[in-house]
Subunit: 340 residues, 2 copies
DNA sequence: GAGGTTAGTGTAAGCGCTTACATATCACTG
DNA sequence: CAGTGATATGTAAGCGCTTACACTAACCTC
């Protein structure tokens, strides 16, 4: 059994290139400060040894990582994928790297992930939604890690957010649905325990109902975990309630697609027998058949602006400012007026 | 303007708790070695200061990170999400953390990501597919970072893989399709340039055709980038070729769903006018209408086994062994016999 | 040709942590 | 009660890197 060859370090490179470690460091990080010939020798040594700088050591010496952490509730089902992609692309143009973690919609896991990303030296964090344990915000302050909230917008929260008003968006949609004559409504909501967007969307419907003079009790409410199958099960439950709903709101498109499928399986016509409304406007919404009526979220714009804001904060010290984006209603084929 | 409060370090905790840094370190990492009373004092100091250990410094001192890197081609569309989730879950039970990066199906980006994860101290790497620049494998050897390949299986490759035989799986499916009477075939393939799974699937179809006495020329071939819309466009192209194909294979379910949609838009009946076959069996496949006939990939099992293998390698020095899993055919509603 | 730049390089301290080793206590044991 | 072992803690070196500062040599400038 041969002994492991040691992993090459800066010093090994320096020895091989016959220069000091300082020069190697400079050759790598600011090539302009080094004579061309020296640079060449260093590069050759790097290549020959298969040298890779130790990120941890570097981070320790310069005291920043050029890394920004993002924690999203889920990686499945692409709800956050598009926005994150834009976020990452934007960061990249500014020289930052994104580190990503997912919390499975659990507050305790999210907290763990926050601590882990901070430990890994994230220079800043992107978080989804405002609501979380105040202790963790205190911790972030102690660690001096700035936080930007997205997928939500609340100018009054103590952390800046770049996003849209979930409640207002859903309220607009609900108002339209009510205007079309629907009176018996249902909502299949994602779990609201640690998801302030879900509660806001719920509140939006209630608010629209209130404006239209409907009673909160007129809304059948089913709460379920995330997933297509879960949406299907919830739909079956909702459609069985009395009086039977003529319009079923879903907290997100994934649940809506599940609902749509189950409706088909039950022989219930959409939108003739029942209307189904989603939220998010992910790609799935267009592919579904019939194509889903939903609330369009400006994923890419949100991600891009968030990346820009954070890069500018870190790079130029420009403070984070709340930015409100508009969600819009997308009417496709799953919503129809209620004939009376 | 107040000056930034310094970020608390081990030493700050030590001072506050009136012990040495060594004791704090022990109190945190092996509480059993520290007197209960001391431990309490340390914990209080940690909480009070909002202390978080510096991961980089720790990694440097212990020379490992308990972190495993995974690089997947894409985060959109959830193809890899389920497998990765299982991978992560398994790693977690062994005390490892997963770091994830996506390469957008680009070889150069993947190489960058590999270097970045290695720099960050990944103790091992999970990679999709065997094929990549030999230099990068050399680099990984120099850095002494073990690699496990997945989503593919090739016992003859010089790196161990845990996955399935893409060619054989697609060949099985193609044989069935041919047996059903289809003679005019088309394949909408993902880009094969840096995607050995895509080429293997292509090869599988050709192989089945060969067995059945068909000519390779009888397969219309369209290559496209990843995405639902891309699948739709490619389908329109494929269906216009002469002789008109009666069965269209797709390199993955995402392309297949796009094809399905375009077929509907063009008024082409599936499976009466044309059969459409996917690959992967992601959730989307069941939701599509008609439900997609596809090749089921054992995502979860693959992820779990990969995680286990890596954890055992790192923890107990158990060498990685290639493991072949079986992909299976799932017949749903988009494939029908060809009436002659 | 003395004085002043500038470019290129080296020396060494220090980033925050772990851990081998040394030391100090204390409770037994025979 | 000297000797032993267990338990708890401290001291200090070292992990791989960056960078302030110091130094040298070459090149101007007047």
């Amino acid at each position: 059994m041969t002994t492991q060859p040691a992993i090459p370090t800066l010093e090994d490179v320096a020895t091989l290139a016959e220069v000091s470690t300082a020069t190697v460091s400079r050759a790598i990080n600011s090539p302009g400060k080094v004579a061309p010939d020296t640079r060449r020798r260093v590069n050759e040594a790097v290549a020959k040894l298969g040298y890779s700088p130790n990120f941890g050591a570097r981070a320790m010496a310069v005291r920043r990582t050029m890394t920004i952490g993002a924690i999203i509730p889920t990686m499945e089902n692409a709800i956050f994928a598009r926005g994150l992609q834009a976020f990452q692309d934007e960061l990249r143009t500014h020289g930052y790297t994104m580190l990503i973690a997912s919390s499975a919609y659990r507050a305790d896991t999210e907290e763990e992930q926050i601590r882990s990303l901070v430990a890994r030296g994230a220079d800043a964090l992107l978080l989804i939604g405002h609501h979380r344990n105040p202790d963790i915000y205190k911790f972030l302050d102690a660690q001096n890690v700035p936080v930007l909230v997205t997928w939500a917008y609340d100018p009054d929260a103590d952390r800046p957010s770049i996003g849209f008003d979930n409640k207002a968006a859903m309220q607009d949609m609900a108002a339209e649905v009510i205007k079309m004559g629907h009176r018996n409504l249902a909502l299949i909501s994602a779990e609201t325990a640690s998801n302030d967007r879900a509660s806001a969307r719920h509140a939006g419907i209630l608010s629209a109902m209130h404006e239209a003079g409907l009673q909160p009790d007129d809304l059948h409410y089913v709460e379920t975990t995330y997933g297509i199958e879960e949406g299907a099960v919830a739909f079956e439950q909702a459609i069985g309630m009395m009086p039977r709903p003529t319009a079923v709101f879903c907290g997100n498109d994934v649940l809506a697609v599940g609902a749509l499928r189950r409706a088909r399986e039950l022989g219930i016509q959409v939108p003739d027998d029942v209307s189904i409304i989603g939220f998010d406007d992910i790609e799935l919404a267009q592919v579904a058949h019939p194509a889903l009526t939903t609330v369009h979220v400006p994923h890419r714009e949100m991600g891009r602006l968030a990346g820009l804001a954070l890069a500018q904060l870190l790079g130029k010290g420009i403070a984070l400012k709340p930015v409100e984006l508009r969600a819009s209603l997308v009417f496709r084929d799953t919503l129809a007026p209620r004939e009376n």
